[in-house]
């Protein structure tokens, strides 16, 4: 496949990168690992005329942790270094677990944390250049088409594609915040507000609220989360390469044998990571036993909006959450709910 011509620009600073985007506008895209953007360009679905390389900007790939500021991960950190980071394995293993489930080793050496969170979402209709909402059209082919693998069980907003990011799911279970710099300055926002499901940004339907001239520079987790235990589980058709059919990120902090705080996030089944707040409420303040955990799993979803071919992913989600809760609550016992 020949990719159409473009210029490859190497800014030395964020300010220079932002001003390059201002100069070249919609025809330009920020470029990190490239595993998402180049893939879409090879399919002919995206055709930027200018790639603004973020890797030439110093210090966007640094990770720090201390007890006051908490965890700060540079957005250009590769997925592989997150996966193998001693710091993650010791203090935030849920992130290392999620990173390890992404794509394949070769992709993880190239792809970045920031790119994974900001990725251009697609389904197989978009990839085949169908004129859908994300491709200059005003239609979604999924509801009346083949929606087994890429589409939401919790509804959509014009588009039904799911956000596939495993890291978004895991970071959501850590109440992560994002630092974003652009033409309007720098701001820190919650990951939940960064991924609100589909929304219009600068007149275009998008899955994250990043404006064209904005760059995600850092992902932050508050220091109190080092006291929580967490686990990430994923189910996909194959054991590598594939997006999750469903995934679960669960974090829990215990106090005096009771569940003091819990996050249950399900990924890959909606246009955003889904916080199962009802299920969380079942557990808060309680001593955990098998009946309670089963109750929480039952209350995972309120209303679901499965399409013609994807309802099976609701049960998979429940099983994954059950597995995750079991691993956190009874780590030395057999799985308490059979797969």
């Amino acid at each position: 496949m020949v990719v159409e011509e473009f210029a490859f620009l190497n800014p030395r600073s964020i300010a220079e990168a932002v001003s390059l985007h201002t100069k070249y506008g919609e025809d330009s895209r920020f470029f990190a690992g490239g595993t998402n953007l180049l893939y879409m360009m090879k399919r002919g679905v995206r055709k930027p005329r200018y790639l603004i390389n973020l890797k030439t900007i110093r210090d966007l790939d640094l990770t720090t942790f201390d007890d006051t500021q908490g965890l700060r991960i540079g957005s250009l950190t590769t997925i592989e270094s997150l996966e193998n980071s001693k710091l993650m394995k010791e203090k935030f293993p849920i992130l290392a677990q999620a990173a390890k489930k992404i794509a394949s080793p070769q992709i993880r050496y190239m792809a970045t944390v920031g790119g994974n969170l900001c990725q251009d979402v697609w389904c197989w209709y978009l990839l085949e250049d169908f004129p859908c909402w994300l491709n200059g059209g005003e239609y979604c082919f999924a509801p009346e088409g083949d929606n087994r693998y890429h589409h939401s069980v919790l509804g959509g907003y014009f588009c039904f594609a799911v956000h596939p990011s495993d890291l978004a799911t895991a970071f959501c279970a850590l109440d992560a915040t994002l630092v974003i710099t652009g033409g309007d300055g720098t701001k820190e926002i919650s990951l939940e507000s960064f991924l609100p499901g589909f929304t219009k940004v600068e007149g275009q339907l998008r899955q994250n609220i990043l404006k064209g001239d904005e760059i995600l520079t850092e992902i932050r987790v508050a220091p109190r989360w080092q006291e929580a235990k967490g686990v990430f589980v994923k189910y996909a058709v194959r054991q590598s390469f594939d997006f999750a059919l469903s995934s679960a990120a669960v974090t829990m902090r215990m106090e005096n044998d009771r569940c003091a705080d819990v996050r249950i996030v399900i990924g890959g089944i909606a246009p955003l990571p889904f916080r199962a707040r009802q299920a969380e409420a079942v557990l808060i303040g309680k001593r955990l036993d098998k009946t309670l955990l089963e109750d929480a799993v039952e209350q995972l979803f309120g209303k679901t909006i499965a399409l013609s071919g994807n309802a099976y992913r609701i049960q998979i989600s429940k099983d994954l959450v059950a597995k995750a809760l079991g691993q956190l609550s009874f780590p030395y016992e057999e799985k308490f709910i059979a797969p």
Binding site: V2, E5, F6, F8, T35, Y39, S104, P105, Q106, F241
Partner: protein, 162 residues
């Protein structure tokens, strides 16, 4: 767009080659440098046949822009043998005879080299994890796992003798 000349470090040598920004490392290696040991199958980063090492790390050269390599060292399968002497990884794959059509093999060999440089004595699970980015359509992969373990053995023997 006028031609770019870029400098690449390939298999221990510095080469200069003309490459536009929209050219991928896989194509430059094969079409401009004659290094056709790296294969292109899916051409979109989902099969692993184009795997080369960049500073020792396995990546998909079909998803790497040539102009984005900079001064990272590229290692292709052609850079493994020392003259007539095969690298232990190559020898092991030959000994086990795990290839059928052979198209995926060089990709597996490069991934294996990276694994063994990182973990000289991998357990089977570690081998399978490391190979999870390389697809083979002919075999059931068992021969490849065996080849990797044999390569680890051969490499160990070589260091013991040295």
């Amino acid at each position: 767009m006028s031609g770019y000349r870029i400098s690449l470090q390939v298999n221990g040598r510095v080469v200069e080659v003309a490459a536009e920004p929209n050219e991928f490392l896989s194509d430059v290696l094969r079409d401009k440098l004659g290094l056709t040991g790296t294969k292109i199958a899916c051409n979109e980063g989902v099969c692993g046949s184009c795997t080369v090492l960049l500073d020792g790390k396995p990546i998909y050269s079909c998803l790497k822009l040539a102009c984005d390599v900079g001064d990272q060292e590229i290692l292709t399968v052609e850079g493994l043998a020392q003259g007539e002497k095969l690298h232990p990884v190559q020898q092991a794959f030959l000994d086990v005879g795990s290839s059928q059509c052979g198209f995926c093999t060089t990709g597996f060999i490069m991934t294996t080299k990276a694994l063994l440089d990182n973990i000289p004595d991998p357990k089977i699970d570690e081998v399978k994890q490391a190979l999870s980015g390389n697809i083979c359509r002919c075999t059931d992969y068992a021969g490849y796992v065996e080849a990797v373990l044999r390569a680890a053995q051969l490499a160990r023997k070589a260091t013991e003798r040295a």
